[in-house]
């Protein structure tokens, strides 16, 4: 049932397949997915919303229902109107339930369509069903990485990892605070600290990370010479010394 829905959505909404990693070192690329518990978390959120919607519909319908009840008890011409009201109210409730069921399927699809790709020098986060977003950020531009976890997320062992780049102070004024382009979310991962460590490890190799100076990179690049090269150099040095000494003795003998 869900699979049929997913295939239909993939076709109708033209949801692109799994994102490819940005060009670079393929061997170091790692792809993370949202944890299965994130689906449970989304389900919990969905259940709360659905309960809210159903309660709202019922609260809205109580008045008209009582009216319809009175209409029935009066009988005659009024009961016809009461029946119409009942049908309308029933339709409203059913429509709400159908919409919530659709939302449930979308929740599942949204959970499925999440990819967090980390390469040797950048990350790519793909999310979304109707609006597909794919963010690409190089590690050199990352300002800070933070992990946040609410009580329900803690119980489920998942967390949200947030990556910030420079700028983006005006997030609150925007119509969608969620769509601040300077922050990238790894939502619902169960290995947030592992991802953080991986990113920090790769970040540490970049001396100009954040808004650091590019000059620092050149200064820190002290080349390390291998043991073979050093040994060969020492031999050359010894040979040169011996040559000088021999030459010195010869000139002494001549004079």
């Amino acid at each position: 049932m869900y699979n049929a829905f997913r295939e239909l959505c993939e076709r109708l909404l033209r949801i692109p397949p799994e994102p490819g990693p940005p060009p670079g070192d393929e061997a170091q690329t790692r792809i993370f997915r949202a944890a299965p518990n994130y689906y449970k978390y989304l389900l919990a959120l969905w259940a709360v919303k659905t309960a809210g919607a159903v309660l709202a519909v019922i609260a809205f319908e109580i008045g008209p229902l009582i009216g319809a009840w009175i209409g029935f008890s009066r009988g005659g011409h009024d009961s016809g109107w009461a029946l119409l009201a009942l049908v309308l109210l029933g339709f409203l409730l059913v429509a709400t339930l159908v919409l919530r069921l659709f939302a449930l399927a979308v929740v599942r699809l949204d959970f499925d369509k999440r990819w967090y790709v980390i390469t040797d020098r950048s990350l790519r986060v793909r999310e979304g069903v109707f609006l597909v977003r794919e963010a690409t950020v190089t590690f050199a531009n990352i300002q800070n990485i933070s992990i946040s976890q609410g009580p329900i997320q803690r119980a489920l062992g998942i967390a949200d990892l947030r990556v910030d780049t420079a700028g983006g102070g005006g997030a609150a004024q925007g119509q969608h605070a969620m769509q601040n382009l300077h922050t990238t979310w790894f939502r619902g991962v169960n290995n947030a600290s592992e991802i953080r460590e991986l990113m920090q490890k790769r970040l540490r190799q970049l001396k100009d990370a954040g808004l650091g100076d590019l000059e620092e990179l050149a200064a820190a690049d002290t080349p390390t010479v291998s043991a073979d090269v050093l040994a060969a150099l020492r031999e050359v040095c010894a040979e040169a010394r011996a040559l000088r000494e021999t030459a010195g003795r010869r000139t002494n003998a001549i004079s």
Binding site: P23, L131, V132, T165, G167, L181, L206, L211, A232, I254
Partner: protein, 184 residues
Amino acid sequence: MTMHTDPVTEKVFALERPHPSLWRYYIIHALLTGPALIGTLPYYFFRYHTLRYRFDEEGIHMKVGILFRKEINLTYARIQDIHLKSGFVQRWLGLANLEIQTASGSATAELVIEGFKEYELIRDFLYTRMRGYRAGNAGRPATAQLAGGSPEMISLLQEIRDELRRTRESLAGAPPAQPPSHHV
């Protein structure tokens, strides 16, 4: 301009006008605004017809507008994030928005590249030129190569050593040369 022979760069440099699908997308977008169509459709019409992009060695340049003109210039090296966004109508038309971010204060994109079917190509092109790509690329392999020690370097050093050794041996073994100028 014979510097870039790589086909991706040439393709991206050749881009200028958005694809006609963008106009179709704008029509759909305008229709969705309902009665406001009277205002939005002409706006989109002029936007579509005046929208120009230019990609060169340094950065992206965008020009748009007929009454109120806007021109955005952005250097590749200042690009922080690249976002690829597409609604399902755009995906049906084969389009997507590329939103380019720099470190400036706004939460929205500094520059939006819209209306190109080659969005993946443009994204990869920008990725290889954005801030942080080269630093990670150029810094590492160079040191790794040195640390490994190039075999050529070692053999060269050994050759020098042998050369020196032979010089010393010839100096030590041969009878002392009598420079003619010595007895004058």
